[in-house]
């Protein structure tokens, strides 16, 4: 008995040891990013666990030397609009595909689903030319419209449809008898019921939009229109890599997301499992 207990204690130590090591490896890059963000420019490649001198000024420098507030604003408002658009059109179409009967609905749904297989990278060139002809290059419209109507949006339709399929028919039957319009049923019955699915989709869409790099790289030229990832990536070339500033900027670009994630992680991880596990 005692022997067995000892063994299980030993395996526990190894078990926690491995996990701590792996977690540390995952976290160390971030700690080093934060560390560097406070370093003096002359100490960038000096190995210090705590920067000396400790410079808050780096953050102010980033804010002063680059239009960082604009990058922030662009990223936030684009991510919000993409999220709202994806939720609205996705749930609307998802509701129709799940609950309304109309001719050709399953074929239309299959067509939409098939687009999830088309990598955006493949169609970027014609999309760019289309946007150019419409005069929309170097505006935010492609960054908002393409995700909502493209494969990411279709993913939204799929998630919402799966959810609405689970809603019992009786609920809408009652509403119909009360004379509710279909839009009313969607808006006041279906949407409130779909809160868990919407929460998952919201985090997922916001995250994807916030981190998107390829599309801004192609569509945006002007500095004041850049989003955070694009600004950070181009920042490296322009200033000849001022690591301390780049790291402060990276911290500022990452922290909001970590805060959101911290509060929403349970829902998010469950959501990923829910949508990906089947």
């Amino acid at each position: 008995m005692n022997n067995r207990k000892k063994k299980s204690f030993g395996t526990k130590v190894i078990f926690y040891g491995i996990l701590t090591l792996v977690s540390l490896i995952m976290i160390v890059p971030f700690l080093w990013m934060i560390n560097t963000s406070f370093k003096d420019a002359t100490k960038i490649f000096t190995f210090q666990w705590i920067p000396d001198p400790f410079r808050w000024q780096n953050y102010l420098d980033v804010l002063e030397k680059t239009p960082f507030h604009l990058f922030y604003f662009n990223s936030i408002y684009i991510a919000i609009l993409v999220t709202i658009g994806t939720i609205f059109f996705g749930s609307l179409a998802g509701y129709a595909f799940a609950k309304l009967s109309f001719r050709g609905s399953s074929i239309l749904f299959l067509c939409l689903l098939s687009t999830m297989m088309i990598p955006v990278e493949v169609i970027t060139i014609p999309l760019f030319l289309l946007m150019r002809d419409l005069g929309l290059v170097n505006t935010h419209i492609p960054l908002i419209g393409i995700p909502i109507l493209g494969p990411a949006g279709v993913f939204g339709v799929f998630v919402m449809r799966q959810f609405f399929l689970l809603v019992p028919k009786e609920l809408e039957e009652a509403a119909k008898l009360d004379g509710c319009s279909y839009f009313r049923i969607y808006w006041s019955i279906m949407l409130p019921l779909a809160k868990p699915a919407i929460a998952t989709l919201t985090i997922f869409t916001f995250l994807t939009s916030w981190n998107e790099f390829y599309e801004p790289l192609i569509y945006i030229n002007s500095k004041e229109l850049m989003t955070l990832p694009l600004a950070l990536a181009l920042f490296t070339d322009e200033v000849g890599t001022k690591w301390e500033l780049l790291m402060s900027a990276s911290v500022m670009a990452t922290v909001p997301l970590l805060i959101v994630f911290f509060f929403a992680q349970k829902q998010f991880i469950e959501g990923v499992s829910m949508t990906g596990g089947k």
Partner: protein, 311 residues
Amino acid sequence: MEANLNTSAQLSLEKERRRKKFIGSEAFYGYLFVSPMVLGFLVVMLGPLLYSFYMSLTDWQLLGDPNFIGLENYQRLTSDPEFGTVLKNTLIFSVGLVPVNIILALMLALLLHRNLPGMGIFRTAIFIPVMTSIVVWSIIWKYMFATDEGFINQILQVFSIEGPAWLYDPKLAMAAVIVVSAMKNVGLNMVLFLAALQQVPRTLYEASYLDGANKSKQFWYVTLPMITPTVFLTLILTVIGSMKVFGQIYVMTGGGPGNHTKVLVYYIWETAFKLFDFGYASAIAIILFLIILVFTIAQWVLRKRWVFHEQ
């Protein structure tokens, strides 16, 4: 004559009545609600895809009009040494990334799939890189991999090892990118595995325990067969994702040193948006599409064969 007029009037009346009946009907709302996404499908997906095919058959270089040149671009691909390198690099990236990513994710999921204190913290730590933008993640690692006094090489120095120029060494650059990419996404696959593990019925383990199966036998004969659908899903998703790698290459190596980390999407981007050779770039994009299509079809065909289903 009058009778004729009468019937046509009746017909149009009938039409009008049907139209009125259609407006406000269930089907009407169905079409209305799906129309934005269907329109999006036509304008943002199907149209551009077909146009890509067409453009791959032209010599369009931004200025002037596109000339139809048939399969010339595809012929050019077969004799373009750079395209060969790019294909090879993409393959190396996938072959390096996919097994590491899947096996690591599964091992971590098996470790974290217990209700012991602290699991939430570990899961979060491993998941954090998934949420970070690939640009930020790549920038940090570019800095960590810096040659003379970078983090990694300073650590190596503690053990008296002379650190190499990671991202400037033709042999090491791709390996570095692969490691960084695997770390970035291992958390996502881990979460999918965690979900799958939770769905394995407890009773199966109890039964196999009574039959005298040890832990490793339980893994090979109970756990693994039960989670094959997820293994397969993550496999396909990771393979397809690895075909589309771009951000980490753009930030960390810019395709270099030489052409050693130049991959498919990077080559498409470079050809189209730096050299403005849209026709040729479209042909490369079509090749990428075909590769991914093959994997997607393989998923459907093979899944029934080797994926375990209950019943």
